[in-house]
């Protein structure tokens, strides 16, 4: 007969126990029953504050209910265990369910500790622990202006972030101690943290003892022991945790004087068949209030239940976290000082950075330290501490990072011993990651996450895992060649040349002759882009279904499955008549309208079946496709230039229109943005574009490879004081060179970053014709310019192509009932997704 394990509590640690047991119990010799007090399955409490920053409850869920079902786990939610009968080995739940057990695992967690301050029961006073707490806070915050948090520790500052995210006008943090986070960081670190938090708008009150919460039913103010009063209409108490040991107490299990279920090294309670793990357990006379030791406890109990041997050792409490965007970390022995150790301190008050490392008196190894404001070196420092790595001659190098370039930092990963713990949440060592890379040829981050679980907890070790993959592969002598995907053993550049030489014009031709398998979502759009860059034929004629959704429907897919429409407005110049047409179309098809960053107008919420009708009206009014959906030229922004502006030295608008009309519809590895400024004031922001043009007294300066986006980069000056004709010639050459040689989905800025010789090499190719390719580049570009046709005009006038724009093939007129909208500021927005 199967043995039965009952888990009391479905929080992060309770869930982790189930996950670990399922993976260890290969012969399926146990039945697993879980009782949870909350109404939803276990979720990620560590990242709770992200709930107000846009994450949903589903995003935070550790595993959906279906996971429990699939693994044969009986899950009772909203039903806490209220009694344990140790004689008969049964538990009884609040709803009266009785389950017998062979092993009982208590993972009841902790509750917020609420100090006995008169008035804590008033409305507007909250604790910060569950998603329900957050929902209550959120609804109260709608009418609140001033909020406060009692507690300046880790959880209190998390709660303060939540109040900031809720948009309160004032957020106060009240701390009883004379400084913030006294348990994790030292006094100087606290000061740095405090000034950074104050700069973010938090008001911090230290050495404050709250005496009373005043208000008529609802909180109105707080009174302190020093006689001062603070007016608030919302208060979050986050002054610590208390272990949930009630049910253990009732069952007569031994508990600590200040709470917590007493356990031994095997995490057994005073009853050997009952275990306690996570924040309810008192191990080594302490409560481990972090998730990593909780997971380790889950591992220990799961191992011993299936018959293994494992003990819970005193756990390293080093932590790194981001508090309101500020890095805070402490590791090893953070507080040890002279004469027991030597300390090295670095402080930059202007940037709000404080770092301290403690080294042994003989100068040989690292003992611990504190990082505030910049914790990039945390993982390295922690590993050096744990593994007692011999310190370099200048130990401050470890703390200040690789000042000599990235090479030093990455050689750091390789210097660690195999036992070094890379992912402390899931206890994954460097050795086991390297094993997967070398023996099992797992060379992607996703692959490593899947097979080792490294990086799936807090994610802090992800950069180290990436370094480890790259460095290990290099050390194995693996030449990393960027082939397109599993279907093509070529780089994009090789494929581009082959497709050109062979003259292939459809994806199937390319796949049949150069690839294998049936293609995928990576190679299909990449090859489609190459074909479009080479021949500039209508993309929907022969290659419709290899286009990404946006190119397939010539519009940008949006949150509820409807599309957005962007007509081309070259240079941002538009007549009142055309503006009126846009307004009329938007009104007729009920579209949300917004001016884009590229001086155009975006119309959102178009049903796929309305797209041809919308475009028919736009095309008739003289509009063309704006290619906002394509990896192609988007827009050429311009300032008003010398025609109106008293400072302008050249006619920026006319030139912007000329440039935009020359390169419109040009398909490339990624999108292309451009701008023309009429004088050095640079109002069109040309230096942030893939190619930007700035007027001079004598002509134009041409800049290339700038970028906004994820990684902003200033464009580099390619040529000065050139005339319009030369400028276009240089741009022709530049764009063709980019289109031919860039990797898929690589913007011009990273393309240049990877180019050996950088801007000087690029100059030699484009200006000095170092490759002897310029005549060909110009000729190829001229071919593309002449082959240009507006895609939407072709669709509108082609009944066969028009037919493809339906949601239901068997009900072409019917719109997707799932595409829902909500009203917002007299317009609509897409219904929020789940």
């Amino acid at each position: 007969m199967k043995k039965k394990i009952v888990v009391v509590g479905n929080g992060m640690v309770g869930y982790k126990f189930c996950e670990k047991l399922i993976s260890k119990d290969v012969s399926k010799s146990f039945d697993l029953v879980v009782f949870g007090e909350e109404s939803r399955p276990a979720y990620d409490r560590v990242h709770l504050s992200e709930y107000f920053a846009g994450k949903t409850a589903e995003d935070l869920t550790m595993a959906p209910s279906s996971w429990y079902k699939e693994n044969g786990i009986t899950l009772y939610l909203s039903d806490p265990v209220v009694d344990i009968n140790r004689e008969e080995k049964t538990v009884r739940s609040h709803h009266g369910i009785v389950e017998n057990y062979d092993y009982l695992v208590l993972a009841t967690g902790s509750a917020a500790f609420v100090p006995p301050i008169p008035g804590v029961e008033k409305d507007g006073v909250f604790v910060y622990r569950t998603i329900e707490d957050l929902d209550l806070m959120q609804s109260h915050a709608k009418k609140a202006k001033k909020g406060a948090v009692i507690g300046g520790g880790l959880l209190g500052l998390e709660a303060a972030k939540a109040l900031l995210d809720l948009g309160l006008e004032e957020t106060h943090v009240i701390e009883f101690a004379p400084r913030l986070m006294p348990r994790q960081i030292d006094e100087a670190g606290s000061k740095t943290l405090q000034s950074k938090l104050e700069a973010l708008g938090l008001q911090i009150h230290l050495s404050k003892n709250t005496q009373e919460i005043i208000g008529n039913g609802v909180i109105e103010s707080m009174k302190f022991a020093d006689g001062s009063v603070l007016e608030v209409d919302m208060l979050v108490i986050s002054a610590g945790i208390k272990p949930r040991d009630e049910v253990a107490k009732i069952a007569g299990l031994e508990v600590g004087t200040r709470g917590g279920i007493i356990v031994n090294d095997k995490l057994q309670t005073s009853d050997p068949n009952i275990f306690a793990i996570g924040e309810c357990a008192l191990a080594h006379q302490m409560i481990y209030g972090l998730v990593a030791p909780g997971y380790e406890m889950a591992e220990v109990v799961a191992t011993s239940i299936v018959g293994g041997e494992k003990e819970f050792k005193p756990f390293d409490m080093s932590t790194k976290l981001k508090l309101i965007g500020i890095d805070v970390a402490s590791f090893g022995d953070a507080f040890i000082q002279e004469p027991n150790a030597q300390t090295i301190v670095f402080e930059n008050t202007a940037k709000g950075i404080y770092k301290r490392i403690n080294i042994s008196n003989d100068g040989k190894c690292l003992l611990g330290g504190v990082l505030v404001g910049d914790a990039e070196q945390y993982n390295m420092l922690l590993q050096n501490t744990k593994n007692k790595v011999l310190l370099p001659a200048d130990p401050e190098d470890l703390m200040l990072g690789a000042r000599g370039g990235a090479e030093q930092a990455s050689s750091g990963v390789m210097a660690l011993p195999d036992e070094a713990l890379i992912c402390s949440c899931e206890a994954v060592t460097k050795g086991s990651i390297c094993h997967e890379i070398i023996e099992n040829k797992v060379t992607t981050l996703d692959g490593i996450k899947k097979c080792t679980k490294a990086g799936t907890g807090c994610g802090g070790c992800v950069p180290m895992v990436k370094d480890l993959i790259n460095e290990t592969m290099k050390s194995q002598g693996v030449f990393v060649r960027n082939i397109l995907c599993e279907h093509f053993d070529y780089t994009r550049q090789e494929l581009f040349d082959l497709v050109k030489i062979k003259g292939y014009k459809t994806y199937d031709d390319v796949l049949d002759h150069l690839g294998k398998g049936d293609g995928c979502e990576v190679c299909k759009p990449a090859v489609a882009s190459i074909i479009a860059s080479l021949w500039n034929e209508m993309i929907l004629e022969k290659n419709a279904t290899v286009q990404d959704s946006n190119d397939r429907f010539l519009a940008n897919i949006q949150k509820n499955g409807t599309y957005s429409v962007v007509p081309r407005i070259p240079g941002g110049e538009i007549t009142p008549e055309k503006l009126i047409v846009i307004g009329q179309v938007a009104q007729k098809y009920n579209l949300y309208t917004k001016i884009t960053g590229g001086q155009r107008i975006d119309l959102f919420g178009a049903h796929v079946s309305d797209l041809p009708d919308i475009w028919e009206e736009l095309v008739n009014a003289g509009f063309e496709s704006g290619h906002a959906y394509g990896k192609s030229l988007r827009t050429v922004k311009s300032c008003v230039g010398s025609t109106w502006c008293r400072f302008g030295v050249q006619d920026a608008v006319s030139f912007a229109i000329e440039v935009e009309e020359r390169y419109r519809g040009l398909r490339s590895p990624h999108k292309l943005k451009s701008a023309v400024s009429g004088c050095t004031r640079e109002c069109a922001e040309a230096q942030s574009k893939d190619f930007g043009i700035i007027a001079t007294e004598k002509g134009w300066n041409l800049y290339v490879c700038g970028n906004g986006g994820v990684k902003p980069r200033h464009a580099e000056l390619l040529a000065t004081d050139i005339d319009s004709e030369t400028c276009l010639k240089y741009i022709d050459r530049f764009l063709m060179f980019y289109i031919k040689t860039a990797e898929p989905l690589t913007r011009t800025a990273p393309w240049l970053d990877k180019m050996e010789g950088g801007i000087n090499y690029l100059k030699s190719v484009i200006i000095d014709d170092a490759l002897g390719m310029n005549a060909q580049f110009e000729q190829e570009m001229q071919f593309l310019v002449e082959a240009y046709k507006c895609e939407w005009k072709e669709v509108v006038t082609n009944p066969e192509l028009r037919k493809r724009f339906t949601h239901f093939v068997n009900a072409p007129k019917m719109k997707d009932p799932y595409a829902k909208f909500e009203p917002m500021r007299e317009q609509i927005k897409a219904a929020e997704w789940k």
């Binding site: 959906p64 293609g519 995928c520 190679c523 279904t545 990404d548 339906t806 239901f808």
Partner: protein, 115 residues
């Protein structure tokens, strides 16, 4: 005990309605079904149209292809490129959820879905 299930075949559309090597959506018994015409392999597949990741009716607009040595046929959702097996409905991007698959047959130029 083997439970016997009766399959009802519903006419979805004609063969030309589904683009070659791509998909389209049909409304059958009030359910949105994505139908794929995998011309390259001479195969037809059908799944639910709803992508379980963000609950979007979009799979029929996704790109199809294959993966692995077994050449498992798959579809990628256009929203976040979560991929699903067209045979089993299993999520191939490593997530827990999966999608429903349906039987398809083609007779006299008509596409039928078995439910």
């Amino acid at each position: 005990m083997i439970a016997e299930q009766t399959i009802t075949w519903h006419v979805a559309c004609s063969v030309e309605d589904i683009p070659e090597n791509g998909g389209a959506c049909a409304l059958i018994e009030n359910e949105q079904i994505a139908i794929y015409n995998f011309t390259r392999r001479g195969e037809w597949y059908a799944t639910q149209n709803l992508c379980p990741h963000r609950q979007q009716m979009a799979l029929s607009r996704g790109m199809i292809g294959s993966t692995g040595i077994e050449n498992e046929p798959k579809v990628a959702c256009p929203f976040h490129k979560k991929t699903f097996s067209l045979k089993s409905g299993e999520c191939l991007s490593g997530d827990e959820y999966s999608i429903k698959t349906y039987l398809v047959k083609v007779e006299n130029g008509q596409v039928f879905i078995g439910m």
